[in-house]
């Protein structure tokens, strides 16, 4: 198990490096370097940047030097000083902006993941055990519908319904009195009271596909000979169902985290924009529209790393659940 853990951790290193390179490429993609953009935008606002400040920035980011040096400088800053560069849109270091938002994104994604599992698991089992029943057809239909609805559309519809019929706004993660307040139990409770709306919206598509996966897995397992063996032993049906096929179908189900988590994080980004949640989404889109590239790239990188870590955790969970993987 320890060996497995180490190997998985080692595997992560190239992935992390690849992610940072992709993020850096995104920084580099817009024409011109960010300093020229910055100067241009300051000039547009009638401000000037003094030469020495420009020198200092050039030095810090290695502008004008070969691309790989720039990359290394950027990485060096992140790894040794926690410095992701500056956001010129906010005139602040990126690191001042990202962490609190990232934490809320994390809470939101995790809550969505738990929601998706909690809903998809029982419904998937039901659909498989009662294959071709009315309930199964209904779940399949709702599932298809959930898959076909872009989640921002769902967010818009919910917002519209809440506004029109309940005269309420469903945006945000906090009530006004807590928005600026420091963390307290009251604020946490307030957060959870608001969280369920985005969680349900973000979770729909994932729930739909996980129901289908759970159903298909379990149908596969139900046909396996070991089920007959267990039945021939004299086990009652329900105990048998949960001890063997459900338990075994759980493994591929857990391993879906690998791709469910990225889609949830994606979904969280876009839904947050619509519902204007204080997570990464709205800030990311603003940064992108302003070509505030250090901020944008840092977000993309951190979100990706968050997903990769999430996937690692799910892999470990899987190894704990499945001896075949653990002992490989």
């Amino acid at each position: 198990m320890l060996q497995f853990l180490l190997r998985r951790l080692l595997y992560m290193i190239p992935t992390m490096i690849a992610i940072s390179i992709v993020a850096f490429v995104i920084i580099q993609l817009p024409p011109g370097d960010f300093l020229t953009t910055m100067v241009a935008s300051m000039a547009a606002q009638g401000e000037d940047m003094d030469q020495s400040a420009m020198r200092a920035l050039e030095e810090q980011y290695g502008l004008g030097q070969p691309v790989h040096i720039q990359y290394l400088k950027w990485m060096q800053g992140i790894l040794f000083r926690g410095d992701f560069g500056d956001s010129f849109g906010w005139n602040k270091p990126v690191s001042d902006l990202v962490w609190s938002r990232l934490a809320l994104t994390f809470v939101l994604s995790l809550a969505s993941l738990l929601f998706v599992w909690a809903v998809a698991f029982p419904i998937g089992i039901y659909s498989a055990v009662k294959q071709y029943s009315i309930g199964d057809y209904f779940a399949t239909f709702i599932g298809f519908l959930g898959l076909a609805t872009p989640n921002f559309l769902l967010a818009l519809i919910l917002m519209y319904i809440a506004f029109k019929f309940f005269n309420q706004s469903v945006g945000g993660l906090f009530s006004p009195e807590y928005t600026e307040a420091p963390w307290s139990w009251g604020k946490v409770a307030d957060l959870f009271a608001h969280l369920w709306v985005p969680v349900v919206i973000i979770g729909t598509a994932g729930t739909a596909s996980l129901i289908r996966i759970m159903r298909a897995n379990l149908l596969d397992e139900l046909r396996k000979p070991y089920v007959v063996t267990a039945r021939a032993k004299g086990l009652p049906e329900w105990r048998l169902l949960f001890k063997y096929p459900v338990r075994i179908a759980l493994n591929p189900f857990v391993s879906t985290v690998g791709w469910v988590l990225p889609t949830l994080v994606s979904g969280a980004a876009i839904v947050s924009i619509v519902l204007s949640l204080p997570t990464t989404g709205p800030l990311l889109i603003r940064a992108l529209l302003q070509q505030d590239m250090y901020l944008a790239a840092s977000f993309i990188m951190l979100l990706s790393i968050l997903t990769v870590i999430g996937t690692l955790v799910s892999d470990l969970l899987l190894a704990w659940l499945d001896p075949r993987i653990r002992m490989e």
Binding site: P14, T15, A18, I19, V22, A23, I26, L29, P30, P31, F144, L145, L147, A148, T149, P150, F152, L153, L156, I157, M159, Y160, F163, K164, S169, G171, G258, W259, P262, T263, V265, S266, G267, A269, I270, I273, V274, T280, L284, I285, L288, L289, Q291, A296, A297, F299, I300, L303, S304, T307, V308, T311
Partner: protein, 387 residues
């Protein structure tokens, strides 16, 4: 112990002649598509999905004719005009008569907000008709026409069957034009993914070993990054001053760059299982080169699966484009896609005043559902061993 299986009691005493075997195999090849068709036909939802898909693509083909006007026409004096319902029959003294019309608008002023709003005026009648002459357009950019499937008989008075947006643009026309863009971007993106996927997946499955390992790692990597932020990042990097067509292709490339992985997996799986089959071995031993072997011998043998997977990946592309454009990072006017239209609905205030702005979302829903059912049915039909 005598080792004989009852199982091996062979049914035929004489081995079938080679000629017989050949006839038999040609029969089974010829009927494979037919078998698929029979199986597909039994799948009722898939049939419905297929028909709806065909209709949507037909709409995409004839947008100029079907749309009452072109999508960009701004009529500032019709801001957020609500949808006008088309009545087919008119009440006259002699009873009901076929004479399509809609009711006109009257303007009401909200005394508190001092806002002008349009409401339907039951008193007014605007004549509508089918196959009416209207705004001229170039059909497929080839020849001039001014015939519209449905519209107002009086070019001066516009009709908004699905309402208007903030700038008085006709939502129905925009949506019909959007069909072409949204559906074609799905198709085009899938075709690009198809080449990437089949090439890399094929190479991966065909050679196995290190190459396979490397490509698998890349796929895993791409799949492990949250797509929308990455798409956003890439799309934002497209220069704003690019012409619309170039942006369109740029977005397609970005979408397919990430979308190929699913397909590559399917192809790889098939290749791995086919690699050891006799006919591929035979072709390799014959000295056929690799690319020829892949294209001539292996691809046809799982063509039906590829078609099914392709169909199933179109909806993802459509959804992705819709999301990007909705965020303002994808396509931009004058190009209209469903996502571009939904951008109008981005804030709750406009949705609250003009809920019809959400209708393009319905189009996305229908298209994606239809394609999913259709693809599901194809996949089932393509797999002869699954019930």
């Amino acid at each position: 112990m005598a080792v004989t299986d009852v199982k091996t009691l062979s049914p035929e005493a004489v081995a079938p002649g080679a000629a017989e075997a050949e006839i038999e195999s040609s029969v089974s090849v010829a009927s494979q598509w037919q078998l698929m068709w029979w199986k597909f036909r039994k799948h009722r939802m898939a049939m419905a999905g297929g028909i709806v898909t065909l209709i949507i693509y037909a709409i995409a083909l004839f947008v100029e004719f079907l749309a009452p006007s072109s999508p960009g026409v701004i009529r500032a004096d019709y801001t957020w005009a609500p949808p006008q319902r088309l009545h087919f029959f008119r009440q006259t003294d002699e009873g009901m008569r076929w004479d399509p019309y809609v009711n006109g608008y009257k303007v009401e002023i909200d005394p508190e907000a001092l806002k002008r709003t349009f409401v339907i005026d039951e008193e007014q009648v605007v004549d509508a008709g089918f196959f009416v002459k209207g705004e001229p357009y170039e059909m497929w950019g080839l020849w001039e026409m001014d015939l519209h499937f449905v519209g107002s008989t009086d070019p001066e008075v516009p009709i908004y069957f699905l309402g208007a947006d903030r700038m008085g643009r006709d939502l129905l026309s925009s949506m019909i034009y959007g069909t072409r863009v949204s559906m074609s971007i799905g198709l085009l993106g899938v075709f690009m993914s198809f080449f990437l996927g089949i090439m890399l997946g094929g190479v991966s499955g065909f050679y196995g070993g290190t190459v396979d390992n490397l490509i698998q790692r890349i796929i895993e990597f791409i799949r492990s990054i949250p797509t929308i932020p990455l798409w956003m990042g890439l799309a934002a990097a497209l220069p704003t001053d690019w012409p619309p067509l170039r942006i369109y292709f740029g977005i397609t490339i970005i979408l397919s760059f990430i979308g190929w992985t699913g397909l590559a997996r399917v192809v790889r799986g098939r290749f791995l299982s086919l690699r050891t089959e006799d006919f591929v071995m035979a072709a390799r031993l014959d000295g056929a080169n690799e690319v020829t072997t892949i294209w001539r011998h292996m691809v046809p043998s799982f063509f039906s699966h590829i078609i099914a997977s392709l169909t199933l990946s179109i909806p993802g592309m459509i959804l992705a484009e819709t999301s990007l454009s909705f965020l303002g990072l994808g396509l931009r006017r004058p190009v209209v896609s469903w996502g571009v239209l939904l951008q109008e609905a981005q804030n709750i205030r406009s949705v609250a005043t003009a809920p019809w702005l959400l209708i393009p979302g319905l189009a996305v829903l229908v298209a994606v559902l239809a394609l999913n059912f259709f693809g599901d049915g194809l996949r089932d039909a393509a797999d002869p061993y699954n019930r």
